[in-house]
């Protein structure tokens, strides 16, 4: 088992009242799964993804990742955990505009203990794999949306994570570009990478092996 959420609650205080963002979420994810999280706006999809990605706290419940109790871990330990095992892909790509494609890919490696030559090899590997060698010296603004997202996925993969979390990865792309990314995800999944994606599109959800539906913070 990769991760397990038990009775997860998350809320905010608003005007003296608790507004629940996540309500009693129970979810088990096995290695090699491809899950699509669906639901209307405000249903808590992104929040759930952030909780799984350990970017956000929750208020109640238990979360085990590779048998480590995340809810009991110290911040530093938790950071190490997601640094090592989780890669993120965003709707708006979130590449750093001031860095080239090459530097964007290299960036996560700078925060892990890799030597210069190791980094070079790993980045070259990724550029090769995604066929973007020719673009390595370009800046994000010089790329199309699809290409930017390609770089975003490559960046998420570069440190060989077990889990990819993708928040509407095709939301800013046209249908052809979107399909390309989804095919890529499918291929990655076939190689054994676990993927959890948030999506609005039924079609994209179909790429997943399992669909989780959310409404008002509850799994339905």
């Amino acid at each position: 088992m990769l991760l397990q959420l038990n009775n997860i609650f998350k809320w905010v205080q608003q005007g003296g009242q608790r507004v629940f963002l996540l309500k009693d979420i129970n979810l088990q994810v096995e290695e090699g799964e491809f899950i699509s999280v669906m639901g209307p706006s405000g249903s808590g999809k992104s929040t759930l993804l952030n909780v799984i990605g350990m970017l956000d706290d929750f208020d109640e419940g238990e979360y085990e990742f590779l048998d480590e109790p995340v809810h009991q871990l110290k911040e530093k330990h938790r950071a190490n955990l997601y640094k090592q095992y989780i890669g993120f892909v965003f709707q708006a790509y979130h590449l750093i505009d001031e860095l080239t494609v090459y530097e964007n890919l290299e960036m996560p490696l700078l925060y892990k203990k890799h030597s210069g030559s190791e980094r070079k090899a790993m980045v070259a590997d990724m550029l090769d794999r995604f066929n973007i060698v020719g673009k390595k010296d370009l800046f994000p603004t010089q790329l199309s949306g699809g290409q930017q997202q390609l770089v975003g996925v490559a960046r998420a993969l570069i440190s060989k994570p077990k889990l990819i979390l993708a928040d509407e990865p095709t939301g800013n792309l046209n249908s052809a570009q979107g399909e390309e990314i989804m095919t890529l995800f499918k291929a990655l999944n076939d190689e054994g990478v676990t993927i959890i994606q948030v999506t609005h599109s039924e079609k994209n959800a179909e790429y997943g092996k399992r669909i989780v539906n959310l409404l008002d913070g509850r799994m339905v």
Partner: protein
Amino acid sequence: MSTLFLKIATRYLLKNKLYSFINIVGLAIGIASFILIMLYVNYENSYDKFEGSENVHRVYMDYLEGGEWVPGDANAYIVSGPALKQEFPEIQDFVRLRRVKGVILLHNNTVFDKNTGALADPSYFNVFDRTLNKGDLSTALNEPYSIVLTSYLAQKIFGNEDPMGKTIQIAADGNTPFTVTGILDSTGPNTHIKNDFLVSFKTFYTWPIFERDWEYTWNQNEYFTYLKLDGNADVASLNEKIMAYEPEGLKNERHHLEPIEDIHLNSNKPYEAEANGNANSIRLLAIIAFITILLSWMNYVNLSTSKSLERAKEIGVRKVVGARRPQLILQSLIESGLLNFIAIVLAIGAAYVLLPVFNRFVGLDLKLNSTQIKGLLPFFVFMLLGATLSAFYPAFVLSKYKSITVLKGKLQTSTKGLNLRRGLIIGQFLTTITLLTGAFIANKQIRFLQDRPIGADLNHLVTLNGQVLNRDRDSLLKRDFSTLMNELKKSPYVDNVTLSQTYPGDDFTNLNSSFGITFPNGKTDDKRIWYNYTVQPDYFDLMGMEFIAGEGFPQTAQEWSHNIVINEKMASFIEVTDLQGMIGKTIKFWDQDWTVTGIVKDYHHFGLKTPIEPMIITHNKAISNVLVKLDKRTASLASMTQALEQLNKIWHQVFPESTFGYTFLDQNFQKQYVEDRKFAKAFQIFTILAILIASMGLFGLTSYTCIQRRKEIGIRKVNGATITQILALLNKDFVTWVALAFIAAVPLSWYAMNKWLEGFAYKTEMSWWIFGLAGLTALLIALLTVSWQSFRAAVANPVDALRDE
């Protein structure tokens, strides 16, 4: 519309308290510093400015030294003024002032001591454009034994009585009576030559205190002489003609003119009327004033443009509902105006309140009265201009935002704007480091002046400089001084006593200057100037002076001899290399033969601003100073007070009718650096303020960059960056900026401070570590300022920054 804008502006300022506070306080500090410094600068520039002052020039003497004419003496000869006026038609009038210092005035047997006055020609009022509160300008200084008092002194002596026509005595050589013929307003213009009273010049020829000087020749050179020139006169060519003018009886000297307006800041000749200011220091301070106010405007621009990011949404909404650009600009300007107005009001209030503190700290007596404010008026125009300009930039930036992008939350800040702000910050660091270096060097120089051994031990040395009233004849007085010395020696507090004409740190005035000397090898030099004073044999021992050859004077029964001691500089002046062989040799000057008994190691007679001069110390009984070396055991304040009380008692036993005064020699020596210390302190204060302002600006920019790089920080954190790594990333830029600024600041501050140090004959080293220390201090201040906000940005949850809306 405008009232609405004003309302919004007020609410906005109140809502953003930290921002408003930083902005207003930053501006207010800048403006207040500017006002204070400019008051000081204006005061220093205000010396000798009066109606027609541009046509008034002082005559000074140039001496021939090594084939060149060098300024040698601030005084001219008694005959200089009349002779020049006769020779050159451009000269309308002249006035001579012969100063008398430390004078005691007597009225109804009450003593008023420590007055300084001058003999003055009747033309005084014409040349200096002065009027009298009471008395007749045309006659006040005509008759012998007429005296004109300043209103302040008159009030002190006569209270509310009318002093006109009353008699007062000057207690010197027989209490000569003088008639008060005029009252001069003491709140007259600021001048380098301050007098409490004026005595008619005609008194000179019969007044016993000048008995030895009663001659009207090219021998009497103790006269400050001022010329009033024709308004159309060509000063440069007149100066050349005067330089070429060689009256009979004047050898190796020339007359030279200098504008009276330049004396206070630009003249530092021997025998000045008072210690003058330093033009370089004042210029530096003025530069600092402009820098501080510029810094605060830069800050304002910086802060308000950073802040405008947060207001982008408001601007977007306004544009969508129909606001046009001029209206937005107007609104922004009204806000700036309000902010600047508050800052200026605060600044003026602060300057007013802080002026006494500033005065006390720096040692000045500046006033914020109407004339001073009038002097500041051009600067107020400058301030308004600056404030308006600094308000326009943010207004334009703010109004330029496109409403759609702003409302979509996709505001991209232009790199151009960021570059401008970076430039401003680097500029601020540049000035900060330069100022810091300057302050460090000024401080180091002051400490150097204080700590450098002067070649004489002035500790525990007191000079008694009371004045004996009703004194009859010098010979009798001299006998009394012997009695005094014997009595003093008996005191347990006293180590030793001696008499001398002057001492290190004393005024130039008590020193004689001469030309003409025949060396032991028969060679003669009658061009270069040398100085001399007389002492008693114990003097060298009391001063702890070191002999490099020979020794001091042997005690003789008649208290004088033809023995002399010369200093090292004098030895090199008379081209002696074999110092030991010099002892017992004869030197000729003043038409007499003198035997050298010793060569004293060079000591600083004038303080470190002036180079060491050739000096001959002769053996005679001078009674101007009774030097008392107090016992080392009187170190505590209490025992010191007791010692001084006893000195006072002994003094009055010997001279029942007298005033008593004393001066500690070490303190007196330090007084020579008063102006420099003032400068260093002012420099310090304003450096601190400038740094404060710069940090505020930096604070503003950091908050801006942190907002700007929020997304980037978020991405990096999600990809595994730790807080420390983010902090390093954010602070790296600032370190680079400080480094850049440092590189530019080093040559700049080196140049400026080198210029300042030129005013000292002896100067401290500008060691490399000072620059390093200044750079490090600036870096530390920068890091402290930015770290709080960088930290906040680094620990923020990346989810908030990366939310895709």
